[in-house]
Symmetry: C2
Subunit: 244 residues, 2 copies
């Protein structure tokens, strides 16, 4: 009947919006990647739960669409926001193969916003969000976007900065950025946003190049105005500067 593609925010639980809670309350079944469903299932002990492993994205969306086409109200949960590197687009694509269903996307706090809040206020000015994963995107395209964003002085937020198979991707990205930006550019990263073990680091672009990050880390690279205030990463928007 209806497929709700729901963002549970970075950590689930307290990060859910009222809209997400209402959709979960009203669903017949919850579908998602095991790790994300685990963040929620204690809150919904009576709901039917269906999980699929990592990297089975197409199977997961097909399962959700099929259940909805069979007349059920399905909640598919995604970490962060389903509309930012999540499952929302794939659900629309897959649904074309089935009888018409209603799809609604319920946004959640994406890692760019959740991580920024932990670091301070790095995204106060124009910013670009780039995934460093080349599983689905040629590295040349990622490289062109890094160069374009650095040249135009965007603040950058980098998703998927590394994985076991790509341990040096953040280093490669930093080398590209260092060709256009000073090594002193203020940067930051947050690991496990909103979850147990959340940890934030503020450092320079030169230091970021050699930092150890993993797939649970979100990285921020400041623009030319970004500074450190009391240990926080802050990009001024210009209100105070206008007054002076």
């Amino acid at each position: 009947m209806k497929l709700s593609v729901i963002g549970i925010g970075p950590g689930g639980g307290i990060d859910l919006t009222g809209r997400a809670r209402a959709a979960l309350d009203g669903c017949d079944a919850i579908i998602g990647y095991t790790v994300y469903v685990d963040l929620l299932k204690n809150d919904y002990p009576d709901k039917e739960i269906k999980t699929t492993p990592m990297r089975k994205e197409v199977d997961r969306c097909r399962m959700a669409v099929e259940e909805a086409a069979a007349g059920r109200n399905v909640a598919m949960v995604c970490s962060g926001d389903p509309g930012v590197y999540g499952m929302a687009g794939l659900c629309y694509e897959v649904a074309q193969e089935y009888a018409p269903i209603e799809i609604e996307v319920i946004p959640g706090i994406t890692a760019a916003c959740g991580g920024a809040a932990v670091l301070g206020a790095p995204l106060m000015h124009d910013f670009a969000v780039i995934s460093l994963s080349d599983l689905l995107t040629p590295w040349e395209k990622i490289e062109a976007r890094l160069k374009g964003a650095a040249a135009a002085d965007f603040v950058l937020c980098l998703y998927n900065p590394a994985s076991h198979k790509r341990p040096d991707y953040l280093q490669r990205a930093c080398d590209i950025l260092l060709a256009a930006k000073p090594a002193e550019t203020v940067c930051g990263f947050v690991r496990s946003i909103g979850r147990e073990g959340e940890a934030a680091t503020v450092l320079t672009l030169g230091e970021l190049r050699d930092a150890e990050v993993d797939m649970f880390t979100t990285v921020f690279v400041g623009n030319s105005q970004t500074k450190v205030i009391n240990g926080k990463m802050v990009t001024p928007r210009g209100y105070l500067q206008r007054e002076q």
Copy 2:
């Protein structure tokens, strides 16, 4: 004592996270721009409320910081996410002038994520967020960012696409984008996200150039892969394409 800078999402109410609700429940006073506080005040009839008019951003942050420095728990509310063109950065800047206080930023659903969910799934791939307001940013910098983002094939999300004083800014932005992108590029805009009268339009870049938008509208410009599926704006990430 503590200043919580809280994002209430696009429409307030049902868009608040549990974390935002908890901070509001625990505060002594709620401070914000009148329109946003009005979205909340029925939920918090017993809280002290202080509002400031539009464009008095520095005064608003000073008031919040002063209250917190005087020993109170203050909730400053912002539309969307306080970390995206909101008050988070300015609070950190202003707080430097006062006795040390604790500042926490509680993220909310920003218009990029809220509007994307209404339109479908336009932000599934790398994207850039640009404000077209030149109140605080020289137009030349905005123009350079539009050019850079178009050249690198980012999906674009445009905040503040027009105002009474800037009725033609979206048209000027579209002319810049049309120099680098086909007129058939899939675009969309959403007015009053999450509020009464919410309305979404999917159209081409050529049509967007002549569309009427206002300061309550958020605009999305697709990348080279963005398409229309059942009236929704969808940017494929490439999962299905990988399978084929």
